[in-house]
Amino acid sequence: MTVANSQETMPAKAPLSENVTWLLSRMTALATLIVALSFASPYFFQTGNFVNILKQASFQFLMSSGLTIVVLTAGIDLSIGAVLGLAACVGASFLANGQIFYGVGSALLVGFTCGLVNGSLIAYLRIPSFIATYGMLWIAVGLSFVFMDGQVIYGFPESFRVMGSGFIGPIPTPILIAAILLIIMVITLNHTKLGRTLYAIGGNRNAARLSGMPVKFWEMMAYGISGLLAGFAGLVIIARTGAVDAGVGNDLLLPTIAAVVLGGTSLMGGRGGIVGTAIGALILAIILNGMNLLGVDTYWQIGVLGSVTVLAVLADDKISKHIDMRG
């Protein structure tokens, strides 16, 4: 009930009914999907399969969580996949020599730095976020190519790989990591001044500025955090796959945006939240899992994903209009 609670502490946010509406609509979509797939495939409603889905959703959530923050400020970060890739490549070069500390540290630093560059361009030089981050996308891709020179780095220490492919008790580590991140982000976004500021920047930038919030600084930091989390996601991904090449971030951007949008965070900013993104990541993972189980033709799978994302945006648009009219 974090969303309901957050209401008292967040003056800049939308009315209670709206939060409940979008959360309910996402939950309904999720439940419908689970019921439908349970009937469609006898292999779906199985513990083993749910663990799979949770694991796959966890990776998606790690990638989409940073983007959620940026989208809340009414921005977009198109460089996520590329920055993730660059951070993973740099980190891997240390990890392959067994230097876990330097590997993890350098990956996070690369991610954070790229994010801060994005953020400075956007917050202080007023470059539109889709242009600044699109530029960063190509810079990061280019640097990854140069850095890797077409090679694959593999052979990471087992103690590092636990992060992506190990278990803590019966629970796969990535699920645990995603759960912890979710809790931290729920608290940060809903119960701290930082969270209120981020919502306010996206909701009404001028009002936020006039009320004395350090808008520019926190807008920049939103991209910094997004980059940092991309670097972190990169580490967990290579811990899972055990290898990295310059293309590791390819094709990760669209599902990352899709999970945020499916989770109901408005691309206009100020509305939505991290719980929605977790649900969005789950929906995405379930759709992919369902298509695999049902043996949906490869050519259709990509189209289905695209359609679902567009429909989610349309639905979101309709719901917000409905709310506006009741206003």
């Binding site: 199985q46 990854s144 077409g150 593999y154 293309g247 992919l288 490869t298």
Partner: protein, 329 residues
């Protein structure tokens, strides 16, 4: 001695000027300019191709430029690159199309501009080629599948993990796989799903398929990046034992898994050798030598028994002997 160093530098400089062909008139002057078009620079397979062609350029004294799209297999980007290079008019093109159909008109343009084209890896049809070198994706899919089916005694349940659906290489490899499938009546294809040529998607798809199919006898993936992901998924699920996984390309970590007995085999059509031979063909053609119109390289199946040379870095790999390759045609 400082002076001797200086003299050496001048001598080297002059040698370089001679080598780059700025002094005209010499018979077969070295340093012909050749543009080498590749389709991808991010993966180890194409890195090996690049290194192979650089070795040939060094050996024959060609001045080559590697031209490749920054986004792998991007048609639009390669189109621009080819157009730019037709204007620059180098002495020859060594060419791998990102898509053999889409690039056909551009090779036509190069023909019209009088630039000799040596094509390798994917054949461009209906154009004038000095030579075509290589095997093709259809054959490699076919040979790899047959080798895998024989391993499980020609009978069993098989999963195929496809590449990027839009990529011509993925379509040709799948077509080759399907031809082999049609020849083995006791092999049942459980499902064919895409892993997008990438490790993480392949791993996740395989995890899902392991839920769906309690019995899988063998898996073939359209490239090694995905095959390694499949091995990872099988290992985590405790089902790797007795399930041979076949890949294509023999990338370094797949070679390591094959060596360790965790992955069954991979198929290679020797990117390093293709890159080398294509540039040698260009040099020999430019120096007035007859070059066969078709140089085919056999698909090599790499298993635990013969994997060792593939664990070498491409820099250390021996180059093929031109005369021997030609004699084998």
């Amino acid at each position: 001695m400082k002076y001797s160093k200086f003299i050496k530098a001048v001598a080297v400089g002059m040698a370089l000027i001679t080598a780059t062909g700025s002094l005209p008139g010499a018979a077969y002057a070295e340093g012909e300019k050749v543009a080498v078009f590749l389709k991808n620079i991010s993966n180890p397979y194409w890195r090996a191709v690049r290194i192979g062609s650089e070795k040939a350029a060094k050996e024959y004294g060609l001045d080559i430029t590697i031209v490749a799209p920054t986004k792998p297999d991007n048609i639009e980007e390669q189109t621009r690159q080819v157009e730019d290079w037709i204007v620059k008019k180098p002495d020859a093109f060594v060419f791998v199309p990102v898509d053999y159909k889409a690039m056909e008109p551009l090779v036509h343009k190069a023909n019209e501009a009088g630039i000799p084209v040596i094509n390798f890896s994917n054949r461009v049809e209906n154009v004038d080629l000095v030579s075509y070198i290589g095997s093709d994706d259809f054959t490699i899919g076919y040979e790899a599948a047959k080798y895998l089916f024989d391993e499980i005694g020609g009978a069993g349940k098989v999963v195929y993990i496809e590449g990027v659906p839009a990529a011509i290489t993925a379509q040709r490899r799948k077509a080759g796989f399907e031809k082999a499938l049609s020849e083995y009546e006791n092999i049942e294809l459980l499902t064919s799903q895409t892993g997008m040529y990438r490790r993480l998607p392949a791993l996740q798809v395989m995890e899902n398929l392991l839920q769906r199919y309690p019995e899988i006898d063998a898996v073939m993936a359209a490239n090694d990046d995905m095959a390694v992901g499949v091995v990872e998924a099988l290992k985590t699920a405790g089902r790797l034992d007795g399930v041979p996984v076949m890949g294509v390309d023999v990338i370094p970590d797949a070679a390591q898994l094959i060596k360790d007995g965790k992955m069954f085999a991979s198929a290679d059509y020797s990117g390093h050798d293709q890159g080398y031979l294509a540039v040698v063909a260009a040099a020999r053609h430019l120096r007035g030598e007859e070059v066969p119109a078709n140089i085919s390289l056999p698909v090599v199946i790499v298993n635990q028994g013969n994997v060792d040379p593939w664990l070498l870095e491409p820099e250390q790999k021996p180059t093929p002997d031109w005369d021997a390759v030609i004699a084998a045609q």
